[in-house]
């Protein structure tokens, strides 16, 4: 197909599609408005029923808690698959552990200093986001992501050795599994207590308190643990792939 014919075809399809596309856009709800009753219902019900002010957490950990168990399991399966694939390839090879540190002639003291300052504050912020899941935007997933990024600062600033001292692969693997297991166990625990699977049977606490939400606190902590460990595993496994590389950029 010649370029000229392609342009003609493109112009033709634009001309045909322009009118229906314009009419569809005109029929859409106005920007910022929606016709979905679910969000409004949650906004009205959650503060009274669950004593939380972050509706996203209320949906994720309570009203649709079973869905989040599925998502947790997906994350666990994806991370496990990656780890099995990459570790299997390196089996017994010299790349199986992070090698000796490369002489990082290019790493300036400014980067080392900035990373050392940023790492603890990033971790603290992640912890804050995870702990305040019931009150302000954020939650276990977002906070866990931020905490995992904090440990990347360590890698950026101080390299393999400091990273290896801080992050023990065995512990991280255990945390990943335990996070998901704790989520499922919490569901089974509520059944033992006489409720339905993942029914919020714990006391709800006071509205706008960091410790409100009852069972959602447990689920939030389990998600945070699984997400930190999952992303750390991903980072470690991928960074091990670069151990011993001597590219022209280093």
């Amino acid at each position: 197909m010649s370029p000229r014919l392609r342009v003609v075809l493109l112009a033709g399809s634009f001309a045909v599609l322009a009118v229906p596309a314009w009419r569809t856009m005109q029929a859409l709800p106005r920007f910022g408005h929606h016709a979905l009753p679910y969000g409004d219902a949650i906004n009205a019900a959650a503060p009274k029923q669950r004593h939380v002010t972050n509706m996203v957490s209320a949906v994720n950990f309570d009203y649709r808690g079973v869905d989040t168990l599925g998502e947790e399991t997906m994350l666990l399966a994806a991370v496990t698959g990656t780890a099995v694939l990459l570790r299997g390839q390196r089996e017994g090879g010299e790349r199986d552990r992070l090698g000796p540190p490369r002489p990082h002639g290019g790493r300036s003291e400014a980067i080392v200093l900035a990373s050392r300052i940023a790492a603890p504050f990033t971790f603290l912020f992640g912890l804050y986001v995870a702990l305040h899941a019931m009150v302000t935007p954020g939650g276990g997933f977002q906070g866990g992501l931020v905490m995992a990024t904090a440990l990347l600062w360590v890698f950026l600033g101080d390299g393999h050795l400091a990273w290896g001292r801080l992050v023990r692969t065995g512990w991280v693997d255990a945390c990943e599994g335990m996070g998901v297991a704790a989520y499922a166990a919490a569901g089974l625990g509520t059944m033992l207590a006489g409720g339905a699977f993942l029914q919020n049977v714990l006391p709800r606490g006071a509205l706008k308190s960091m410790l409100s939400g009852g069972l959602m606190q447990v689920l939030n902590a389990a998600v945070a643990l699984a997400v930190v460990a999952g992303f750390l595993t991903l980072f470690v496994e991928f960074l091990k792939e670069t151990a011993g590389l001597q590219g022209e950029t280093e």
Binding site: P137, T149, F231, F235, E241, Q246
Partner: protein, 81 residues
């Protein structure tokens, strides 16, 4: 607010275009990262801070890192042969 939103829409479109048009993979990864940050700001401006948190970490840092490592690893293996 409308001006800010418009600016962010233009930036997001430009960033997405850059990701598609840049041919050098390493520069493309940097474009993905920048586009992730712009998208996170856009989500924040549209009052979706939960998604903004996830986007800025996953789109701005985690995904580009995994891409960069994969590129470095692939380049080293092709040099080994």
């Amino acid at each position: 607010m409308t001006i800010l939103l418009g600016l962010l829409y233009v930036l997001a479109a430009a960033g997405g275009g850059c990701v598609a048009l840049i041919r050098d993979p390493r520069r493309q990864v940097m474009a993905i990262s920048a586009n992730g940050v712009v998208l996170a700001l856009l989500f924040l401006a549209l009052r979706a801070p939960d998604v903004a948190y996830s986007e800025i970490v996953v789109g701005g840092a985690a995904l580009p890192l995994l891409f960069l490592v994969t590129l470095a690893s692939a380049r080293a293996r092709s040099q080994d042969r």
